[in-house]
Amino acid sequence: MQPAKNPLASLWRALFGDPVRAFGVVSLVLLMSLAIAPAKHHFSEWRHYQKQYLALIRNRGDAVTLQRHFEGGIQQIWLPELGVVDRCTTCHVGIKEPSLADLTTQPFHRHPIIPHRVDQFGCVMCHRGQGAATTVEEAHRSTLAWEQPLLPARYIESSCGQCHRGPLTGTPQLNLGRQLLSRYGCVHCHTIKLPDGGPMRAADDPPGLLHIADKTSREWIYAWLKDPQAYAVSATMPNFKLSDADARDISAFLIASSTPLNGDTAPVPPAKASPDPTAGASLYGESFCASCHAVQNAAGNVVGGDIGPELTRIGNKVKPEWLQVWLRNPRIYDSGTAMPHYRFTDQQIATLSGFLLTKADSDLLTNVHLDPATPEQIAHGKTLATEYGCASCHEINGVKKPENFAPELTRIGSKPVTQLVFLPGMQHTLPDYIAGKIRQPRSFGSALKMPQFGFNPAQVDALTTALLSLSDRSQNLPPALAVAAPPASTYQPAGKAGQLIADLACFSCHTINGRGGDMAPDLTWEGSSVQRQWLKDFLKNPNTLRPALIRRMPRFNLSDNDINELTDYIMTVYQTPAFDRDAMPPGGYAPAQVEQGRQLFYSKYACQSCHIVDTKTDKGYIGPTLTQVGSRLNAAWIYYWLKNPQALRPGTTEPNRNLSDEDARSLTAFLMAQKGKEGSK
């Protein structure tokens, strides 16, 4: 210790040896400490960037304009009603300069074009981060004092969803994420209260299991529980990673708790299937089963619609008697099913069920050997079904639907990072946590119940985006600033026709008054659009209007009574108030006017690029074929449609040509003259 003391002591003497010297040193130190604040200000990061910006624009042709727009010092956007104080534009100086589009150095890049103005919305509304911070580190990343890091660009659409509660054109990922949340039944277990009040509703329809023993075997249930995707790759049921014993016990319980259905389940009288071996496949094709049901082809691609379940291995699943009763009338087993009630003949049922039962994989159930269930197994199965929350999605005898089974996700997008438990090696951010949970829920703990879903990376991103939009800001937004989702329609047609529309599941494909699917045309104003006789013929034997479509209206084998009932209802009720259906005569136009219309059709408006009138010369097939449009559509409908297609059917593809009344009348005359060949309706 001795040698170190001497130099220190001499230093002390040199600085504070006498009072004058001490006073001088202390004054100097004080002066320097006082200079720290102005020096920090002078050398601050944002000043550095502002200087860099000024140097950068000095040599540009538009320097004068840019310099005039430039304001030095700390800049601030203050939005009191949103609680936003943003100083981002202090460094991001060129964000509003349209002429800086060519400048790629950050922080000076011009903001890409979006529908909002930066000075009205600020930056953190969309990008998160700390608006009030004035250093790069604190503004963009989470530090000790600030928790909210910048939102990665891949989830940026979540910010749109904080205010916009319905789908937007520019946010495909957010729209997909929201669809997945309801389509994959996330909201059966997790409650999501939407900011406008009600809960988010599930869009899937998990089958009830009250009469499951009628439908399938215990072996199939066992194999399905073990791995739903082994049975159908596109199955939405997640994998619960059950042990063999657990799957055995749950399957035992489900079969034991199943009760026979009270209803018209009398077996279909034994009818002979058609002797033609291709008849089943033809009937499957003619009935357009593939519009809703998919089948995996030899190349492994799942081809077909996704409204109904995949049928690749349906023969492994259903009992033949159940399938026949289902084909006869699906509403006996499930009154709310999306499947239409085809009026098949007994022979057709035999043919179609025979065809479907051949769709089986001989390996699927070969290794499943289950001994008869013991009462203990059944009791254990019931415990498991309760613990795993099976009844959140499926109706099961003896198990009540649980309330709040899984954590509520109403504000998941604002969950503080300090409340999250991360896996080793994971980025400590909320988006990474949410994405990780969706990707592999059980990796966060073996006791967790959330099952494994088979989402692809794009779906994980979409779901994360949708969940991040469920933030505090979204909940606390002043209602005047929110953009509400279009209200869900509960339209229900009345009377006997209403029953028919439900029985034929028209809403599965068609939209009427805001309710229904988007596979087929909107029928809200069908009564103003078509002619009565055409509609009757079409319901009896639907022929295709659009040659390029592979999904078409199936034939339901309706009785004449049903056809009359439906036609009367549609022609009377589905009328637009926009015009009088009889405003234009159905025919008898002067040949000169028809010829004038033909000229306009082929030359001025070149309608043949999308429509076919003469099958010999015209080839366009985007719009419906018009060879017999004069027998199909109403003259007034054609006229008003031509004047403004979007006014009659919002979102339709045909562009508005802004026709003069004269041109619209001539085109109507020409189109009404297209009656089709005799007998080729």
Binding site: D62, I156, P172, P655
Partner: protein
Amino acid sequence: MKIRVLDILVLAVLTFNMGCSHQPAPAAPKPTAFGAALVESSGGKQIGAVGAALSQPVVVQVNDDQGNAVPGALVEFSAPAGVAFDPGSGLTDSGGQLTTTVALAGMAGIYELTASTLTKAGKKVELKLQEIALGYQQQVGSQINDKYCARCHDPESTPERVSNYDNLETKPHPFTEGDTLNKMSDADLTAIIAHGGAALNKSALMPPYGYTLSKAEIAAVISYIRLVSDPPYQASGTVYAQK
């Protein structure tokens, strides 16, 4: 004294280490073989959204000078800042291929990705791939394109969506046709979209969309066309020297 110096040193090292939360990057695996050429198997020229992962992975293959696949060669990917690869480097599999998923950065534009491998002589062989990231405006344009334009302007047919291209007497320009479309100004394209082909002495088969699409929507379509064009579109106007 000696002990104290050591103590302070240890403390300093510990504090320093705790302060550094960055984990060292995993060392690149040692190549067991070397190739002579790098070729693209799939995944180039994709169109994705800013920041998001491309829908298809990028697959590259290492070949020897005979054109045979080389397993066990080291391939490294690099790209402009913000682009993420998973994995960023690795050894080729038994088919001589390496697959990586790519997430593009946050700005709209064309991104050039580089894959590289070393030859036996230590020479670097590179393969360049281009991917397109759509920003908000281009995304909107892409959706309008899907709805109104692609059926005629895109010659590719799928069973779900049959192209109308072959049915038209005057063939429309596919939007990737940069040689033609790059010569047209934004004002030209806006006029054709809004007023139709006939109004500009072009084919009447192109209908006007000025009464169907808003100005912003037409601008969005054009920004999409500009981004997917091949060769890439260079905005005309003053190009300022950058220091």
